[in-house]
Symmetry: D2
Subunit: 347 residues, 4 copies
Amino acid sequence: MIKVGIVGGTGYTGVELLRILSQHPHARITAITSRKEAGLPVADMFPSLRGRVDLAFTTPDEAKLHECDVVFFATPHGVAMAQARELLAAGVKIIDLAADFRLKDTAEFEKWYGMPHACPDILAEAVYGLPELNREAIRKARVIGNPGCYPTSVQLGFAPLLRTPGLVDAGHLIANCASGVSGAGRKAEVHTLLAEASDNFKAYGVKGHRHGPEINQQLRAIAGGDGSVHCVFVPHLIPAIRGIHSTLYARLTPQGQQTDLQKLYEDAYRGEPFVDVMPAGSAPETRSVRASNVVRIAVHRPAADLAMVLVVEDNLTKGASGQAVQCMNLMFGLEETAGLNFVPVLP
Amino acid sequence: MIKVGIVGGTGYTGVELLRILSQHPHARITAITSRKEAGLPVADMFPSLRGRVDLAFTTPDEAKLHECDVVFFATPHGVAMAQARELLAAGVKIIDLAADFRLKDTAEFEKWYGMPHACPDILAEAVYGLPELNREAIRKARVIGNPGCYPTSVQLGFAPLLRTPGLVDAGHLIANCASGVSGAGRKAEVHTLLAEASDNFKAYGVKGHRHGPEINQQLRAIAGGDGSVHCVFVPHLIPAIRGIHSTLYARLTPQGQQTDLQKLYEDAYRGEPFVDVMPAGSAPETRSVRASNVVRIAVHRPAADLAMVLVVEDNLTKGASGQAVQCMNLMFGLEETAGLNFVPVLP
Amino acid sequence: MIKVGIVGGTGYTGVELLRILSQHPHARITAITSRKEAGLPVADMFPSLRGRVDLAFTTPDEAKLHECDVVFFATPHGVAMAQARELLAAGVKIIDLAADFRLKDTAEFEKWYGMPHACPDILAEAVYGLPELNREAIRKARVIGNPGCYPTSVQLGFAPLLRTPGLVDAGHLIANCASGVSGAGRKAEVHTLLAEASDNFKAYGVKGHRHGPEINQQLRAIAGGDGSVHCVFVPHLIPAIRGIHSTLYARLTPQGQQTDLQKLYEDAYRGEPFVDVMPAGSAPETRSVRASNVVRIAVHRPAADLAMVLVVEDNLTKGASGQAVQCMNLMFGLEETAGLNFVPVLP
Amino acid sequence: MIKVGIVGGTGYTGVELLRILSQHPHARITAITSRKEAGLPVADMFPSLRGRVDLAFTTPDEAKLHECDVVFFATPHGVAMAQARELLAAGVKIIDLAADFRLKDTAEFEKWYGMPHACPDILAEAVYGLPELNREAIRKARVIGNPGCYPTSVQLGFAPLLRTPGLVDAGHLIANCASGVSGAGRKAEVHTLLAEASDNFKAYGVKGHRHGPEINQQLRAIAGGDGSVHCVFVPHLIPAIRGIHSTLYARLTPQGQQTDLQKLYEDAYRGEPFVDVMPAGSAPETRSVRASNVVRIAVHRPAADLAMVLVVEDNLTKGASGQAVQCMNLMFGLEETAGLNFVPVLP
């Protein structure tokens, strides 16, 4: 059994990690930390875990994280990078669900997250944890920067169009995305109260969102390092708990217009356990992946020279904690789908 | 035009007062205070009021509340009683939407609200602002304790059964109630986040809720001062923005079993502009009163010796701000329905 | 008082017409027809109207629609065009909330609505009822084709960019829109059940939606008849009752990039009673216009050569019944805002 | 592997059976019937099952149900009883999720379900499938009447109070219950549309609900056949997809008032894998059991002589398909929790 520590288990990615790992056949959670809630049984905060998770939150000091095989950081930005060096030195692998190891450019990191990066050398070593695009590197990684929820869907949606050069006008991509409210985390804030966010819809982050630079960094990498790739990213808030829906637009070049897009996508994701390319003409629903690690994709051509890609994922599972466990499975030589094969909950 | 001041306009009862009063034919809002938001245009916080309310929040000092004809307190408990004496001295009438002037027993007030009462003499003078039960006293009042949202529905639902002595076992009443989340106010709290409260249902306040003593004080008064009246009050949280639904149970005495309950209720509320006794067999829906000042009531007899009363109201309108304006209308000799005649919004 | 008839009052645009018209100072509803529900009091179907609308549904034969001043059709497509000639002959004005008088090209109408047009001559005469773009023609009209809910928001959003030639690449517009479920009407269908549509998000109509040709017909007209204008329209379903949110994208030409877009929009809608151009940087919310006739617009420039316009409206009010009453006001020489000045309901 | 057939797989109990059984370690689904959808791949109707259930719907004739070990009926009332005799003769066990084998009194069945019972002898043999109260009989059963969703929660909630005679006034029980909309099934009906049922709350079935006689039959059996037991059952509709919340009231006798209710409940359910008696003072939430087979119960005493029991379950899992699989496990000698141990999905 893999000994797992979780730093910061009081948020939504934390409780989703607990849901998944408490059912995982090859993992055992040995510690969950929360300075604020130290001493509180985890199941008192999350009654859904009564009888399933018997641990209490502990302080980081008591948690003996250096004895773990792997530590997940389900914390705000800045926590993982402060503890990474010591854990690595103790031979512990790290999977950070926050942004500390996503942006390779430390200046970009500082700009968007408001703090200098604490360990650029570890950042340089860290692997971006999107298995469908980065599987071999993840297997060998000691440190994973687990992708953001939006970037996961945008990358998986655009990747087939960008990998072959010359199919689309890659400098003018649009990612019109929408997320359930759990994406904002389990923080007490007025704008995500039910009485504010229910029966409502709006764009947000219209002056710039942190996932924008992450998306662009990664799309450029997918396009073979083409620095001219540019994607406008516009997030919206769905009055729902879970789910991300991305509607992606790319102008097709003449070459792109002659490409069989359906085949392109089916070929790209053939054999992937968690990516489902739907039949032509489909409109995937977020609920079709609820509480599962599956991404569903449909590709359309609403005008002769326009590709439209629809992508759905569960923001807390494939968009966060499920993907993190998928990385763990790869890092420890397990079956990639171990503990992740639950069927979506519908209705 | 009546000059109106609002103290504490940043919560849901505040914005509902603004919605109603900005359309009122005989009222003009002259000041809205918020220490925290002083200087901010009201419409910047509530874009629904853009073009309709041109005021900015001011500090209490700048608000010149003593020049108003009436001041509404849409504040936390304790604010109105601190300012009441000075305003009354200046000839200003007061309508408090919080609890400062509801509980007549200062020991009860202190027990449930955690502070001593600042002005027991004004409390003694204050009138409980439920027009259907207290209309004449309201007309003459200088100070109104505007009823709580739950108590309004429970009182209007039980009143016909309690006014005639001997119809029910008044010592064993049950009020099984449910409220939309806006009843918890516009405070940043985890348990009312959309991701927590949506797709969910629970009881709350199971160890005792502040509206319990208010309900019992008033039901005893309705029953002519019968101290043996007792109602168990159990609130639940509906995953909805607005609306209160009360399911009331009273055991019928033999005399009660011989009473035509439908007629009893129709007689009790004949001519009331805001109380709609529905036909026998009805099940009122909260949405049928959404954003309106109407209460709908249906009375049933699910067993030979049991009366069940179903009551719906909008917690922010008839359960708070609409009722407060109804009181204002009475206090200033206006048509009772002035500015309150909007049709419910359905769907 | 204007005598108003409503054909087909059992759907959501019907009950919204009733909500508005029952509060209108200059209109009196004289008949509401429904073959299926003839004899049923309207308030039995919609308890929100108890005490406010005392009519019962009648058969079309009994309704004496020819004695009305104006008849609203809140019916499925095809009904209005079957009755239009006779009503016009009797001097009755017509406002159709369905699609019979929207598409000027009868072949397009037949293609999208599956029936030949019954009266091309009346269609030729009919005026597209979007007051902000067509006010003078509406004043003189006998027949109004009331715009679709999506087209209203898309047109008002793109109009300032299209009226001045050469600002945008008008052949490659994108309208990424989302609507509350009431837009699908009050028909019993599985896909709009709460258990299907709640906690969910999806695109729909991905193979083509009826509002697409209407949008393109109108955008071409706005652009002065430029046949090269083309907009890809992608609707999505919000798990909410009301509200449309449109996120519009247009590539800016060099000329467009030198234009002050905020000023362009403010100038375009200065003085419009129902269009609110929000300050730069805003993200309008659908709830900020809930149950009101207001449209709010914000214009952004997320990349140097891209304009993004955010538009919100209530699909049942400004997107349907409110707009229809706005047209009625114009047609009868009333104040344009008569009966439409209600403040949005928030929260 | 147990060969499983499902009759009527197009509703919510059907898709929930598919979710559970497709992950069950000892069951294999061999046929799913639907006359209407014969030929359609199951995953085309429920995309959540893409890649997990490869069957298509078949006609009952093609399904070879007589070769199954067990057949689940996820059908409307009346279907199971029409096919039971033939399947039993072929040695197939039957679990009916509808009401054909719940009410032991055929006159009651006919009264509430509008059809005569087709096989009273099989009804007499059938076992009521509530394992916590009926485990041994289920192990030996050939035919299971799987309990209704409401009755499951009401029985588990009241059972400890009724098993010991003399604790409560058993002739005046009240079950004030609320259910998510999926309880109404996947039928196209106006009243369960999102635009009708969302942001709303109401009682329903106020003139009598089919689950009332089932509840009373069972509570009498639990009370040792005491015919004076009577429970008033009042269901309400929660604007949520899943979840049942029951608030149960029973007047305590003097003997009952001297009983330690918390201990009574803990003793009653000690060792039960799917019943969680929460600590004193708890208020269970429906989301704490979402998509799981767990029931959580809290017992309170809001007045000296009143017991209040709060019960939550997932209406589609423990209230239907999960419970059915729990019965199957017992009938086939499997671990009772096999395939049912999934952790609730929260948030």
